[in-house]
């Protein structure tokens, strides 16, 4: 999940994390009773304890259910899950757990920076079935030249312009036909001129307070070509050229000019919940992760009234930015049995029939693995992401390879300063280039 800076979320996340800890602790005690009793008459069962720490808190409940099911089938495995959410919080806590010696056996990592820091503790995953079944493009970034694989993908996520079908229909525009900037701009102007009859407040809702929407996602579209769509290339890049800065600027301007005002204090929850799900705007730049929120707000609207189109990019028309937000890594500082048990669990989760069913219908994941062809994806936005990834019309995510804190502390604020009129576009881009270079030293 990409909502790293959303406080609303991280609050919930803390709470859920705490609950998970509590529940986990209780579950443990419960489990210890029967286990201890059983060992009297059956000496074969040596219990393996798997501590999982992961940073995607939205599917914590379902993940625990899946773990329960696995434990029911495998008496000798005890799984304890800690879910901590929202980018920075998670990584800090992961670091803390490692430095305090309370190392998890399975943990999630988000990108090259995090992988690099925990490289020494990661087991080679190349012997797992899941690694072999991972879709093309999802695992190359964590594969070394000698075939060693550091981690396996969680799922796929994709973003673009999520649009309100009804508004487009009434305005007589086919959103799927908008593949260039000019076409999009004309459509935006048409919709803007009919705002009142369409019953919307503005065309876009750009959450300027959430710098990741611009600094990670939008920028990714325009930085992808020069970084060969590879987060690893981004991770190794000493400098940024910003070859497509002009294209980036006009798209940002378009969203700012036709957005709900004031842009700079608009946040994620206003954008998604208040403006989009209540039909106040025609489209927003977001991804398939907003679906559960839309569904909560208005199930009918979510099911039948939303679609997603790619962000126009010259020479890369109709390609949706799709990437892997998180990876699973197994801690190598354990005995072989524990490492193997951890790998078995991950294999089971993504490749067994029960696991697959859970992944698609309970986790609402867009699968990053082969063998899901017969399963039905549960929501329309995820279906779109899945379709694009199947047809290969995708644009790689490079922002996961940005220097740590680059977007949050440098790039994002520069873009906000541009929107606020504090910097010119040239200044903002120049400052962002310099920041990149100094952070890469």
């Amino acid at each position: 999940m990409l909502i790293q800076n959303n406080l609303n979320n991280s609050n919930k996340i803390f709470f859920v994390g705490a609950c998970a800890l509590l529940l986990g602790a209780c579950g443990n005690e419960d489990g210890a009773g029967p286990g201890g009793m059983g060992s009297n008459d059956d000496s074969s069962g040596e219990t393996i304890q798997l501590n999982i720490m992961q940073g995607k808190v939205e599917f914590n409940t379902q993940f625990n259910e899946l773990a329960d099911q696995y434990m029911a089938e495998n008496d000798n495995v005890q799984i304890e899950i800690t879910s901590v959410g929202g980018g920075t919080d998670y990584f800090t806590q992961l670091t803390t757990r490692f430095s305090s010696g309370d190392e998890p056996d399975i943990f999630s990592v988000a990108g090259p920076n995090e992988i690099e820091q925990f490289q020494d503790t990661m087991a080679d995953m190349s012997d797992t079935d899941a690694a072999a079944a991972a879709l093309e493009g999802t695992i190359e970034n964590v594969t070394h030249d000698d075939g060693r694989i550091d981690a396996i993908p969680y799922n796929l996520e994709g973003y673009g312009f999520v649009y309100n079908m009804e508004v487009f229909e009434q305005a007589g525009i086919d959103p799927e036909a908008l593949s260039t900037y000019e076409e999009l701009r004309d459509a935006v102007e048409t919709i803007d001129s009919q705002k009142e009859t369409l019953g919307i407040e503005a065309v876009f809702a750009l959450p300027g307070a959430e710098s990741w929407v611009m600094g990670d996602h939008l920028a990714n579209v325009y930085l992808s070509p020069e970084l060969n769509e590879s987060p690893l290339e981004a991770y190794n890049a000493e400098t940024l050229a910003f070859e497509r800065a002009d294209e980036f600027q006009r798209m940002l301007d378009l969203q700012v000019d036709y957005s709900i005002e004031p842009v700079l204090s608009l946040d994620y929850s206003q954008q998604v919940e208040e403006y989009f799900s209540l039909g106040q705007v025609a489209m927003i730049q977001q991804g398939n992760w907003i679906y559960p929120t839309l569904e909560q707000m208005d199930p009918e609207f979510a099911e039948s009234n939303v679609g997603m189109i790619p962000i126009p990019l010259e020479g890369y028309e109709d390609r949706l930015p799709v990437g892997v937000p998180n990876y699973w890594a197994v801690n190598d500082n354990n005995d072989d049995a524990t490492v193997q048990a951890a790998k078995d669990f991950l294999d089971w989760m993504y490749l067994s029939d029960e696991g697959k069913d859970f992944v698609v219908s309970e986790f609402n994941f867009v699968p990053a693995y082969e063998g899901y062809e017969d399963l039905e994806i549960s929501d329309p936005l995820s279906q779109i992401v899945y379709d694009y990834s199947q047809s290969g019309d995708t644009l790689g995510w490079v922002f996961t390879g940005f220097p740590t804190g680059y977007q949050l502390n440098e790039f994002g604020p520069n873009l906000q300063a541009y929107i606020g009129g504090e910097m010119t576009w040239e200044e903002a881009i120049e400052a962002s280039k310099e920041a990149w270079e100094s952070m890469r030293q």
């Binding site: 800076n5 406080l7 609303n8 609050n11 980018g87 920075t88 990584f91 800090t92 670091t95 803390t96 490692f98 430095s99 920076n113 820091q117 300027g208 307070a209 710098s211 005002e261 004031p262 842009v263 700079l264 204090s265 740590t404 804190g405 949050l408 502390n409 604020p413 520069n414 906000q416 300063a417 929107i419 606020g420 504090e422």
Partner: protein, 286 residues
């Protein structure tokens, strides 16, 4: 004598132990780490003064330091004026004074994060709605510019802490002897003169306490900052504490963040100590 000494140490050891474990030791470790390239897990080299040299040219850090200073000065003045005003109000002969005391103190019982979100709603939604209705442009777009972000933070802090400061002033105001007030009245002092020449010197110790509290509090604010503005727009309302956390945790530059924290610690210590020293000298003993 020996017994007394033993009791002394017996009583002081737990505090001393916990203080050194959770305050002194971490500070010393922090100073040590600020000279290394520590990444949160381990360090490979000593970098000497590198981090501190880099600090001097770190515009964002200097900017947040300056913002914090401006914020602290503004809120200290407002807090003390309003706190004292409220205290005078609720020690007067008003009928509703007990109720008012409770009401004024209430905001203090709400956590900073929640307050931040509540005020965010007020500034962004309520303000702009009122602005629409009465046609005042100033009320629109709050928190989307550096100036409104600054005043938003000041208003939030003053609203939250004024009640607390009020309680301290009440305690001292009630300690002002009736005889003195009466004799001043007999001498023909106006209410203004009474306040200036009798009450004011007698509640001077309260200034020491409240100035210390407000100063250190306004410098260390983090949660209100995080939930109200999140440092935005473009990090213009980012305070030092937040800058340090961002550097250390989201920028993952633990050692550099640590060196910022040390500098911050030294600055706050110098200001607080000199201010306590100065105020102590001015206090009047009865």
């Amino acid at each position: 004598m020996k017994n007394k000494e033993m009791t002394f140490w017996l009583f002081i050891t737990p505090v001393l132990l916990s203080l050194s474990l959770v305050v002194i030791l971490p500070v010393l470790m922090g100073i040590f780490y600020s000279f290394t390239n520590w990444d949160g897990l381990n360090f490979t080299a000593f970098v000497g003064m590198d981090h501190y040299r880099r600090l001097i040219g770190d515009e964002q850090f200097l900017q947040s330091l300056w913002f914090t200073v401006r914020f602290a000065l503004t809120s200290i003045i407002l807090l003390n004026v309003i706190g004292l005003g409220l205290a005078l109000l609720v020690t007067s002969k008003l009928k509703s004074r007990n109720l008012l005391r409770t009401i004024f103190f209430m905001p203090n019982l709400i956590g900073g994060l929640i307050l931040g979100f509540i005020w965010q709603f007020i500034f962004i939604r309520v303000f702009s709605t009122i602005g629409d209705v009465i046609g005042v442009e100033v009320l629109k777009g709050w928190l989307s510019t550096p100036a409104t972000g600054f005043w938003g933070l000041v208003i939030l802090t003053v609203w939250q802490m004024a009640g607390y400061i009020m309680i301290i002033y009440i305690a001292y105001l009630q300690g002002v002897p009736k005889e003195l007030m009466e004799s001043a009245e007999i001498d023909g002092a106006t209410p203004g003169q009474k306040f200036r020449h009798v009450i004011f010197p007698l509640i001077a110790p309260a200034f020491t306490v409240t100035m210390f509290l407000t100063l250190s509090n306004s410098f260390k604010i983090y949660d209100q900052n995080l939930s109200l503005t999140g440092g935005g727009p473009y990090n213009s309302t980012q305070m030092v504490a937040m800058n340090i956390v961002d550097t250390a945790f989201s920028g993952n530059q633990m050692a550099y963040g640590q060196s910022k924290a040390i500098v911050f610690f030294v600055i706050v210590a110098i200001i607080s100590l000199s201010q306590v020293y100065y105020n102590k000298k001015r206090e009047v003993d009865l």
